[in-house]
Symmetry: C2
Subunit: 696 residues, 2 copies
């Protein structure tokens, strides 16, 4: 677009200016932003962020300003270029895994090389033998081979046992024949497979002597190492456009009786003896718990930060945006009201602000529990690993499976709740920005679209709740039979059994501990209710799925509320955070807990955890807490320390120059380089085209 | 992509085939699809759909298969070509307004010419004088001028009174000077303004003799009629990419003291006398009610069909998709279960199926009420208009404003509820499709993204609820003072007052009428509760916004439940629908009402509309109703009669060939024409590029 005429360049937004409004907001609160940020992330992590940001933001390839204009092809090629540059920078600067992760967070888009790091190399590392490490892992680390992890099929999602792809052992030449027997057997959704990978770890049903032994991982070459064209009998490509995540080449793969040598079956656990053609079983099928638990814990931690992005943008913009006067305002007050002052906006936004901290503390707690458990296992079982950053292999998790079962169930419940809260919360934030929330320059829409798969992958959020219910029912049976181990779950189940006839009478408004106890009571009530339906009334499993979903949600909410309180009780007070900041965090805790209680009031009420009167009072108290949090809102989101470069949002700019930035971006819009021919009877679409012809 | 190799072409999906599964589904139910469709839409409308579909689907310009690959520029130019072709076809085939609307529905995308029809010409028609019709409307109808409606500004959304753009009267030369005094005064979000329009109706503050008289409409030329370049002192362009709706050129507009002649102020209502420079006021400021009421009624009607699209796709796919076995299944049953058999899926999907009918009947009811009211006004006031399809001008609505106030409040409440239910329901449908719901080929994602603005425009859904609350509070005050008119609202408010101490004791499970009454009771309870807070406790308006939102939602839910029941009581039984079909509709009615009651149980309970016991029973009953609806699900969505061409969805295909279609579409993917160079150390992104070079 040609430069704006002089009269346009002179225009400013009407007063008050966004920058002034945000300064006033920051002046109103004593929350210590830097201390709080260090408490949340550690000084080291904040310094890392600054260091990596400097590198990325000075590289032209990472310029985000064209992201929204490109078609699918240009967009993914752009992202490939970024992925390549990240790898080069990683080599140049000798980035650690944390550095590399931080760079990806700041970039905020998946590159088509991503699954090589996230799935291909870890799978070989964890499931390969030393020989296979030498043969595949070392090359993968040097990018001599580029890979992906191919499990899901066109006709088969979460249910791994339903996979159709077969790997049949041929004793005569000691190979496996990998085959796709039908169209629905096609691998589908596989990240980095569509265009980028030349190898795939293919999960296939192992067939040995005519018997099917379940899914196992095989390394299959799929593209020519020189030409990158598909190999013979391999049909592979990109599955097409998606609601988001369009910088990734999710792919499909059909294999027509492709032979791979014996060594290509990853054999650290199960394997086929090449001489006897016998199958050697893994020690226990529960092995996979550990790794999945870790992945889900990181999803919980990430959910807080995903949501915080949206909350940061919406909170800043709602402090700047003015609309209408308060209906009670005197006629003399002509000034419009900051949108953040409306209770309806506060009611939508501030509980989400509280949720960002709640999820962060919960995620951190999960990871600590996981690491402690790992240490305990390692101490009991083997010398501790020298490489502490490495994702632990499942075999380290064999002993102490009871504790692991608890952690596993917890991670399922929390993964389901936290990713749902984050995804739906982002959309609430987008709408809280009013009309401009719909602009790509809000920075929320595409991020939301990219995040959405998280509610489905690593265990569909609805499916997972069945595992949680199964664990709670098992615990309840153990408690009833007097054989239960001692842990927090069995503790609150016992409390409920003891007190259920006496009644609960929790002082949810007066005592933090009793507020948390009320959440536990509700879980116990729902658990025994479901147990009665299942064990006494013999109701079919399928008829109870909705109850199980509610039970799992209740359990997750209890754990989040508890983690939030624990974080305040232990960490916050001893960390050097000022008492004012701790006080505001405490207000957020109460807001989160009481808002959740109110939202789920019918369960609190029917379980007799609270009286109806208390719920009405909780509703009132929530409105009061919103008022208390309101002046601190901008500083609280500041503590999340998202750089403008990361948010890439006009509405969420740190300095409040919202309208200037919205306007500036129109000058980068390639659509403003052309002149349309809009006459319906003219065959032309353009009258003039001033676009630079070069693309990429 | 080169044709698939022969071995790929031979592959079929694993059995059972989707086509067989859908045939079985259709065989299981006696719902008469064609009768039901005629009852919903009329025979005439269904024939229209067939006729227009034949025309559109045979025109290459409307081929949808490239939609998801194009960048912003190509996409909007493609849509411009479609908009032009629609206009040409409209002229050739002499389409009525209904025909044209149907064509747009089938196309399912906004074209950049859209606002010319939807906003520019109607505004001139309704707000222009006969002289202005001659000067502007006739040209607009012949596309000699192309226009848009420019109200919203960068810094000002819903609050029209806050607009900054001024139109100052110059008595000396009988012109108006239109000016944008700041950056935030820039018109923003204006459809068809960015690239297509050469004229705009600009809403600007009329300034007369130094006094500001509020916003008025002015016709402003903005682009040269020959070159289509912006005129001098006009800065105009496209505002940039959005979450959806990217086939529309939403634009910005800054005006630097642009003069327009006196005749360019649309003067059917308010006007400036050019000789005396005096302002002539409109008869009453409530005039605008009528048109907005009509627009909102159409949004309610449309909400049913928007949601039905998602429900159609998800229901068909969930009947085809199989995953896991029931946990209670015997070991011998190896077959996976249809996803639609899981109660958790039914619980998410089938109440939405019920909601599609509920919203449809409610919207139809709204439009009937509106039309009846129009007729009554016309009969009382003036000879009936010969052009019954025309949107009525606001002046026809002057008398009988009380009835209109009721209709207005109803339309606000229902617009807010129905568009929220449709938008959020679409996302529930998308997720119910599991992983494949995320593919663009689900057909839900982009439709959802395009629909989202509806929750914000024509009155933000949260803002609107204040108007509903204001009306209900006013009605309650009138009832208390004994001065209330007789209508349904005052009726149920009186019932509540009379019976509140005695109690309600509605038999929500045994009687349809009492079920509806329970919804009314809840509204009355919330109304008097809010009234007490406002009038007795003198609570600030702002502190009650959350209560008002709840109140409005409750009111809307009551009206939807009531409309659904009314439709069954009157229309369905007399329309020749078979009793089996009516029976299934009745089951849907109960499912919708009881599911809503359960979801909002805390309000039903605290208002004493129901006992806790009843809510527990309602929950049980919902599960039973899901089971009853289940076998009819596919036939019920069939009755919505969406052609495959309209849905453009692999998952929602009528014949169930889901996987074949997903796979076929990979062959149309331009990304599969190129070969990537994925080596991080190679400077190239492509090894080979087989794409056809021509675009568009």
């Amino acid at each position: 677009m040609p430069p704006s005429p002089a009269w346009v360049q002179k225009l400013k937004p009407a007063s008050p200016q966004g920058t002034d409004l945000l300064s006033q907001e920051r002046a109103k609160s004593n929350v210590n932003v830097d201390q709080l940020a260090e408490f949340l992330f550690t000084k080291e992590a904040l310094e890392r962020k600054d260091r990596i940001l400097k590198i990325l933001s000075s590289e032209p390839v990472f310029d985000k300003s064209k992201n929204y204009y490109q078609g699918r092809e240009d967009r993914i090629l752009q992202s490939l270029a970024r992925g390549k540059r990240l790898e080069q920078l990683s080599q140049t600067h000798k980035w650690t895994e944390d550095d590399f992760h931080q760079a990806n967070q700041l970039l905020s888009e998946a590159t088509p090389l991503g699954m090589h790091y996230r799935m291909f190399t870890p799978t070989i590392r964890e499931q390969g033998t030393p020989e296979q490490h030498k043969l595949f892992l070392e090359k993968a680390n040097r990018f001599e081979i580029i890979g992906c992890y191919a499990q899901t099929e066109l006709g088969h999602g979460s249910n791994v046992r339903g996979l159709e792809t077969t790997a049949t052992w041929n004793p005569e030449d000691k190979t496996f024949t990998i085959n796709s027997p039908s169209l629905t057997a096609s691998k589908w959704w596989i990240g980095s497979l569509g265009k980028v990978a030349n190898h795939a770890v293919v999960m296939a049903q192992l067939v040995l002597n005519g018997k099917t032994l379940g899914p196992h991982p095989f390394i299959v070459p799929i593209r020519d190492m020189k030409t990158h064209e598909p190999l013979e009998n391999v049909h592979v490509g990109d599955i097409g456009p998606k609601f988001g995540f369009n910088t990734m080449d999710n792919g499909f793969l059909l294999l027509n009786k492709v032979k791979v040598p014996h060594v290509n079956m990853l054999a650290r656990f199960s394997r086929v003896d090449p001489e006897t053609s016998k199958y050697i079983r893994p020690p226990t099928p529960a092995l996979v718990y550990g790794t999945l638990t870790y992945v889900r814990s990181t999803i919980v931690l990430e959910a807080g930060s995903v949501l915080a992005r949206g909350v940061t943008i919406a909170t800043r913009y709602c402090a700047i945006r003015k609309q209408f006067q308060d209906l009670d305002a005197k006629a003399s007050e002509v000034e419009e009201n900051q949108v953040l002052n409306y209770t309806m906006v506060q009611f939508r936004l501030l509980p989400l602000l509280a949720a960002t901290f709640a999820l962060h503390f919960t995620g951190r707690n999960m990871i600590t529990l996981y690491e402690e458990n790992q240490k305990r296992l390692a101490a009991a079982d083997s010398p501790p690993s020298s490489d502490s950053k490495r994702r632990p292999g499942p075999e380290e998790l064999t002993p102490g499976t009871d504790l692991l079962a608890d952690l596993h169930s917890t991670s399922c419940a929390l993964k389901a709740l936290s990713s749902t809260v984050a995804a739906e919360g982002l959309e609430v934030c987008r709408r809280a920005c009013g009309g401009h929330g719909y602009s790509s320059f809000s920075g929320i829409g595409s991020y939301y679209a990219d995040y959405l798969p998280t509610v489905t992958w690593e265990g569909d959020n609805y499916m997972l709740t069945q595992q949680v219910a199964r664990y709670l029912l098992k615990s309840a049976r153990a408690v009833l039979s007097g054989k239960a181990a001692n842990n927090d779950t069995t503790r609150f189940l016992r409390v409920f059994l003891k007190r259920q006839d006496v009644g609960a009478a929790f002082d949810v408004l007066g005592s933090d501990q009793e507020l948390v106890d009320a959440f536990a009571w509700r879980v116990a009530y729902l658990t025994f209710d479901a147990l009665k339906k299942r064990d006494e009334e013999k109701q079919p499993w399928n008829s109870l799925l909705v109850d199980f979903y509610r039970l799992s949600t209740a359990h997750a909410q209890y754990m989040v509320v508890k983690s939030f309180k624990d974080a305040l009780d232990s960490g916050a007070t001893t960390s050097g955070l000022g008492s004012e900041t701790v006080g505001v965090l405490h207000t957020l805790f109460k807001l989160f807990a009481l808002h959740t209680l109110e939202k789920e009031s019918s369960e609190f009420f029917s379980s007799a955890a609270t009286t109806i009167k208390q719920i009405a009072l909780a509703r009132k108290q929530v409105m009061k807490l919103l008022e208390e949090v309101r002046p601190h809102a901008v500083r609280l989101v500041d503590a999340w320390k998202f750089p403008d470069w990361q948010l890439d949002s006009s509405l969420g700019k740190y300095d409040g120059s919202v309208y200037e930035d919205m306007f500036f971006r129109t000058s980068l819009n390639p659509l403003n380089e052309v002149v349309f021919d809009s006459n319906p009877n003219s065959p032309n679409l353009l009258k003039q085209d001033n676009r630079a012809k070069s693309k990429l």
